[in-house]
């Protein structure tokens, strides 16, 4: 019996305008073309972009190693009528997403240019700076509801910290973004200077799924199909959660706040239970941990809700939410991607008004100080 799938979609009239203000913690803006970055790049890098382009650890130019099930990974109705790829047109984004869904704030998560995975580190540094400037010039300065994040390629830690300093002086960014598929697991010490700055600046560290660090996306090796790779996003963030907690990042940086974006939240409970059980047995291997892993998770980590889990029984979704904790969840839509969650219909389990308020805006408002 499926009361989740069978549950009728409420009538348009009943839920057209959400009574709640919504803070959408995952919106993807796009470049029209790579040349959009030219105003933010020195001539040398404009030339490099045109002639050499990306140097990634993936085989194809201009597309991802796993073909997505929809062009540019997007909803088919998100292509702006004036042209350009989904997510590239602010006016259309307002019309299709921000206005009708009454989005109070949207946090931008930029994926274009695979900044985190550029192997030419100098080029990567130039691109990340350009993308950080582009966010302000094209998006947040024109639309006060949208908020930018400082993108940093974490494998060049020195350049990452320099970029954080530069952007922090401008002061218009709400988050620092790194990538879960980097050269090493995120808990490793080589990345700690980034976390130190994030803590000092009181900016949450955002980790959005994806990227190409050169390692197979699954523990079993390189999968053949997007159907597998898409799900491996959840596994990769579970691994990174374990890395960050067990290597001692929240212990070392007790004021650091970490957000996992687009990993969903169904996997978190069993990861916490497993870490706690291992901690019982193996705590003398990790004496730097002063608390149980689940305690670190409950104080230092947040998780955006998309892609929301769809159990056959609505009450099971309820259990997942309770196991993770309502306070840890941040609503996200992932607009304009195909696996987008519509805030009116994605939660197919009853929530109290108070819970709704926290998940759909309250938790994000407090975390990002909006």
């Amino acid at each position: 019996m499926s009361d989740v799938i069978d549950r009728p979609v409420p009538g348009q009239e009943a839920s057209d305008k959400s009574r709640l203000r919504i803070i959408d913690c995952d919106i993807h803006p796009s470049l029209h073309a790579k040349s959009d970055l030219n105003p933010f790049l020195a001539k040398r890098w404009q030339e490099h972009l045109k002639t050499y382009g990306d140097h990634l650890r993936t085989p194809y130019i201009g597309t991802t190693p796993y073909p997505r099930s929809s062009p540019l990974i997007a909803r088919r109705d998100a292509w702006p009528p004036t042209g350009g790829p989904p997510g590239s047109d602010l006016a259309f984004m307002r019309k299709q997403h921000l206005d009708p869904l009454d989005i109070e704030f949207g946090i931008l998560q930029v994926l274009d240019m695979f900044i985190f995975s550029q192997q030419n580190l100098e080029f990567g540094a130039a691109i990340q700076r350009a993308m950080n400037e582009w966010q302000l010039a094209h998006w947040t300065s024109r639309e006060p509801r949208l908020k930018a994040a400082i993108l940093v390629g974490q494998d060049d830690t020195e350049a990452a910290v320099a970029e954080i300093e530069r952007c922090a002086k401008i002061g218009q960014y709400v988050q620092i973004n790194v990538c879960p598929r980097a050269n090493e697991p995120l808990g490793r010490r080589r990345y700690w200077p980034i976390y130190a700055r994030a803590q000092e600046l009181d900016l949450p560290l955002g980790i959005h799924v994806g990227g190409y660090g050169g390692h197979a996306p699954t523990g079993g090796g390189w999968p053949s199909y997007y159907a597998e790779e898409h799900q491996s996003n959840a596994h990769s963030v579970a691994a990174q959660l374990a890395s960050l907690v067990i290597e001692g990042v929240p212990e070392r940086f007790p004021r650091l706040k970490i957000v996992f974006i687009e990993g969903g939240f169904g996997w978190i409970a069993s990861t916490m239970w497993r870490m706690d059980q291992h901690f019982e047995r193996f705590r003398d291997e990790v004496p730097h941990l002063k608390r149980r892993p689940s305690e670190y998770v409950r104080e230092h980590f947040w998780f955006t809700t998309q892609p929301i889990d769809e159990p056959d029984e609505a009450r099971h979704l309820r259990s997942l939410i309770e196991w993770v904790g309502v306070d840890r969840l941040l609503f996200s839509s992932d607009y304009p991607h195909w696996d987008f969650d519509d805030p009116r219909f994605a939660f197919k389990t009853p929530l109290t008004e108070a819970e709704r308020a926290r998940i759909f805006s309250g938790n994000a408002r407090a975390l990002y100080k909006l």
């Binding site: 073909p67 099930s69 699954t218 079993g220 090796g221 999968p223 053949s224 199909y225 997007y226 159907a227 597998e228 898409h230 799900q231 491996s232 959840a234 969903g264 169904g266 996997w267 409970a269 069993s270 990861t271 239970w273 497993r274 059980q277 291992h278 047995r281 892609p307 889990d309 769809e310 159990p311 056959d312 029984e313 099971h316 259990s319 997942l320 196991w323 195909w338 696996d339």
Partner: protein
Amino acid sequence: MLSLIYEGVFVKFPGLKVVLMESGVSWLPAFMWRANKTWRGVRVEVPWIDREPAAIMRDHIRLTTQPFDSPPDAKGVADIIDMIDSDKMFLFASDYPHWQFDGDDAIPPHLPANIVSRMCADNPLETFPRLSLAA
């Protein structure tokens, strides 16, 4: 597991069962739901998978119960079992002489009685056809 399913191994070998050992159990429900959710939308990439991945898991995958990675309470364990929606998937294992198993009992705590009874004999006998109980 996703690789076994999506590459069509169980289509090609419909009698095959795969036993996952010492992999934990409580991760399975979210894994099943995510696989179903993805498949419903991306099915055209793998059209030889003509039913939900979770249904394939229930038919072809078995898990040993040590470690379980249990929730801390009986209700949580009952929820996990309910979510998995199969009494056939669990196989008793002690993991002797390793020390990773949970607690001091070989059988994880709070498991419903029907699960315990199936996992100790019926499921292993159905999974390993060359086993039989001593007369």
